[in-house]
């Protein structure tokens, strides 16, 4: 099958073939996620719509397409692809490579469920495909899910097919004094539950009358259609814990003076600190709660993950098998057994290791 981006992808293949180290670059909006970026040849995936038929509820785009641009194209047909990065200048490929789900994960599922087909350029300059463009597909191994969150270490994501959704007829953010867990129990399929200390905000999408009824069930008042802001600060991260612990973790992080907004029912807690020690302290709270903290921005002396990769040996074998020359973004994932950087050994998650 041919497409409008093929010649750009061919060019990228040629660059990858000659470059000893290939460093994929998206919108640089999540550049600090993962291990330190290697020195090498920076490559940019092409941007643009390859195929979009609204009746299929799928869209095929160059991975270099900005999420904001994709949103605009889909909105014109009453559709959406809820990637929801913090910054719409993020590229589709960047969102997939970092694997960071948006705040509507509760309603729409994690970003790994969006990707149907992926085209990768390998470290030795071949273009390979995984998955397929139909909304349902179990033909062969799930290379698409494998690539999500791989941080460019398996190849350069150059073209993707994503599952879209219809835009809801109505949506409202509802503020309630209920704890996040209680809101999760009362609301039916909410898109988001954002938990701050002392305040819970629920995004409900659907029929306007249903939203009004949900608001009554949640003892809530509508606070409009704009999402409440995620915490801002020079030192940011996201904690992953079991969903039941979100309320407690948000409270604990807030107590040490670090901004925290949790996603109820999901288990993600977004944190932002004014200094590196705040981020370190939030990581300790995450570990104590049986979770971990991904460093998203600031404090490059702090390890990107703070925990060893689970099943590191299997992951290292996959890396070696798919990128035998090690050209693809080396160091972005801690696949070797180097000790973690700036992590107190006492807070390591012994139970999981």
């Amino acid at each position: 099958m041919t497409g409008p981006l093929d010649s750009a992808i061919d060019d990228l293949c040629a660059v990858a073939r000659d470059a000893p180290v290939v460093v994929p670059v998206g919108g640089r909006t999540h550049w600090e996620v993962g291990g330190p970026p290697p020195t090498g040849t920076e490559v940019v995936a092409p941007a643009g719509i390859v195929e979009y038929d609204p009746a299929e509820l799928t869209v095929t785009v160059g991975a270099g397409t900005r999420v904001g641009d994709l949103d605009a194209v889909l909105a014109a047909s009453g559709q959406q692809c809820p990637l929801d990065p913090r910054d719409p200048a993020a590229t589709v490929g960047g969102v997939l490579a970092t694997g960071l789900s948006g705040p509507r994960r509760l309603g729409y599922g994690p970003v790994r469920n969006r990707l149907l087909e992926v085209h990768l350029v390998t470290g030795d300059g071949r273009r390979v495909k995984g998955g397929g463009r139909t909304v349902k597909n179990v033909s062969g191994y799930d290379v698409a899910r494998l690539v999500v969150g791989s941080l460019g270490t398996l190849g350069v994501i150059v073209q993707v097919t994503l599952r879209c959704e219809p835009r809801p007829p109505a949506a409202a953010w509802l503020a309630t004094a209920l704890p996040g867990a209680e809101a999760a129990a009362r609301a039916f399929r909410p898109a988001t539950i954002l938990v701050q200390s002392g305040a819970t905000t629920v995004l409900v999408e659907g029929h306007a009358d249903d939203i009004a009824a949900e608001s009554r069930r949640l003892d809530a008042t509508s606070v409009g259609t704009a999402p409440p802001p995620l915490p801002e600060g020079p030192f940011r991260g996201r904690i992953s814990v079991s969903p039941a612990r979100v309320d407690a973790v948000v409270a604990a992080v807030a107590r040490i003076g670090v901004g925290a907004v949790g996603e109820g029912g999901v288990g993600t807690v977004h944190v932002a600190a004014v200094n590196a020690d705040g981020l370190r302290a939030a990581r300790v709270i995450a570990h104590d709660a049986g979770g971990w903290l991904l460093r998203e921005a600031g404090g490059e002396e702090i390890d990107g993950f703070g925990v060893p990769l689970p099943n590191r040996a299997v992951m290292a074998r996959i890396k070696d098998a798919l990128d035998p020359t090690g050209a693809c973004n080396p160091g972005r994932l801690p696949l070797d057994d180097r000790p973690l950087v700036d992590v107190d050994a006492a807070v390591g998650r012994g139970a999981r290791a």
């Binding site: 509820l57 139909t134 597909n137 007829p169 399929r189 029929h207 249903d210 009824a213």
Partner: protein, 432 residues
């Protein structure tokens, strides 16, 4: 063949296979249609049906930990009192196991809105080829590194065997409405499918049955399906009251605008169950027509449904076979059903030739080989229709990285010669 009753026994069985350097094949209830759980050569068959306990249910986090031999429907029954259910619902859900569902990344009618098995599996404790147990995924939302859980689901036993599975449970929707729309032309039914999607709706399920299967099902179940319909659509919407009512009205309107002869909305749970019984009994119903059937599974772009179905009927005519269609129209997942009598000389060849041509037709229309049954042995040698040698090489490398032993269900999913440099063709009669 062995029947472990615990993770330890399962791992021990794999280690025995390792010690004797023989392959092992995971098997649940054996309902799979692609031959993924069928042993080749001298493999040890590890049957998980005696590992059938629901280990833990957390009604707050809506997670269940189960053993692989738990039957799909038994899991939903076990959590029904909590107002929860397990969403993937293959037609074989009364008999198939969760472990088998994980192996094939199984689907079902209700995967249209909520996704296939992989979207509902949070974690798997997998016994790998060396007998070690790996914890893949987790109940926290993200883990660092590659999504090994996602990689394992759908790997058809070629990366190891699931010993424990954590699945996401969904709250039962407050309101569910099921509609039966009846058409005098197949095209009108297909246009209605497109019209529903175009109107901004993704129903919980959107199933189509053609004339032959509708008649067969009605004669078998008596669900009140119109015997003279060219096609019927079974549509289910769920959610909150007003949204559901609006969708029922909108779907009715789309149907009428596209020539629906009648739109029946189930008035109570009993009527709803009866309509679904018709759909889910389709494969039993055909036993009244002929003793054997071959059920296909392929996906095409939704907009190509009519075009591909026409080819399917043409192929059936050319091969003088009876073809029925009952399928997940909402996601373009076709299930052409060839009904025949295996005692008829030469019929197997025609059945196979027809299946092969159907598959090629679906791929030519931009489709894929399987939507929910898997590749197994059945479609292994067709993988080259949708994947290039480089694509297959990547998958072969991935498999070898996950299972360096090569003992986990060899000979399935990937055709011989997938690894670059591997001998692609051997002379006929060669022992391999």
């Amino acid at each position: 063949m062995c029947f472990p009753q615990s993770t330890e026994q399962l791992a021990a069985a794999v280690r025995v296979a390792a010690r004797h350097d023989v392959p092992f094949v995971a098997r649940g209830s054996g309902t799979g249609l692609a031959g993924g759980a069928t042993p080749l050569d001298d493999a040890v068959v590890i049957v998980t049906t005696q590992m059938n306990r629901v280990l833990a249910v957390d009604p707050v986090e809506r997670i269940a930990w189960v053993e692989p031999g738990v039957l799909n429907l038994d899991l939903s029954r076990a959590v029904a009192h909590l107002g929860l259910h397990y969403a993937p619902d293959p037609s074989s859900q009364q008999a198939c196991t969760i472990g088998g569902n994980v192996g094939t990344n199984a689907g079902g009618p209700h995967c249209l809105a909520s996704g296939g098995t992989s979207a509902h599996v949070l974690a798997v404790d997998a016994v790998l080829g060396d007998g070690s147990v790996a914890h893949l995924g987790g109940t926290e939302p993200d883990l660092p590194g590659y999504d090994l859980r996602g990689c394992f689901v759908g790997s058809e036993g070629t990366m190891g065997i699931a010993a424990r599975v954590a699945v996401r449970l969904l709250p039962n929707p407050p309101v569910v409405r099921t509609l039966l729309l009846d058409f005098t032309a197949l095209d009108d039914a297909a246009a209605t499918v497109s019209g529903i999607i175009a109107a901004g709706m993704v129903p919980a399920a959107l199933e189509m049955m053609d004339a032959e299967i509708t008649r067969a099902v009605e004669d078998y179940v008596g669900a009140g399906y119109p015997r003279d319909a060219a096609a019927v659509l079974l549509v289910e919407v769920d959610g909150l009251e007003d949204g559901v009512a609006a969708q029922v009205a909108a779907i009715t309107e789309v149907g009428k605008a596209n020539g629906a002869r009648s739109v029946r909305v189930a008035q109570d749970e009993a009527e709803r169950a009866l309509l679904w019984k018709g759909r889910k009994s389709a494969f039993g119903a055909i036993a009244r027509i002929a003793p054997d059937y071959y059920l296909h599974d392929a996906v095409v772009p939704r907009t190509k449904l009519v075009e591909v179905l026409r080819h399917v009927y043409r192929i059936a005519g050319e091969q003088q076979l009876t073809m029925m269609n009952v399928f997940h129209a909402g996601d373009g997942n076709l299930h052409p059903l060839i009904v025949f009598d295996a005692r008829e000389p030469g019929v197997w060849q025609r059945v196979h030739d027809a299946g092969d041509e159907i598959l090629r037709t679906c791929v030519a229309a931009g489709g894929v080989l399987s939507g929910e049954h898997g590749i197994g042995m059945e479609k292994r040698d067709a993988m080259g229709l949708i994947f290039s040698p480089d694509d297959l090489d990547l998958q072969a490398r991935l498999r070898d990285a996950f299972d360096p032993s090569g003992r986990a269900n060899p000979g399935k999913v990937l055709p011989r010669g997938s690894r670059c440099g591997e001998l692609a063709r051997v002379p006929e009669g060669t022992w391999v």
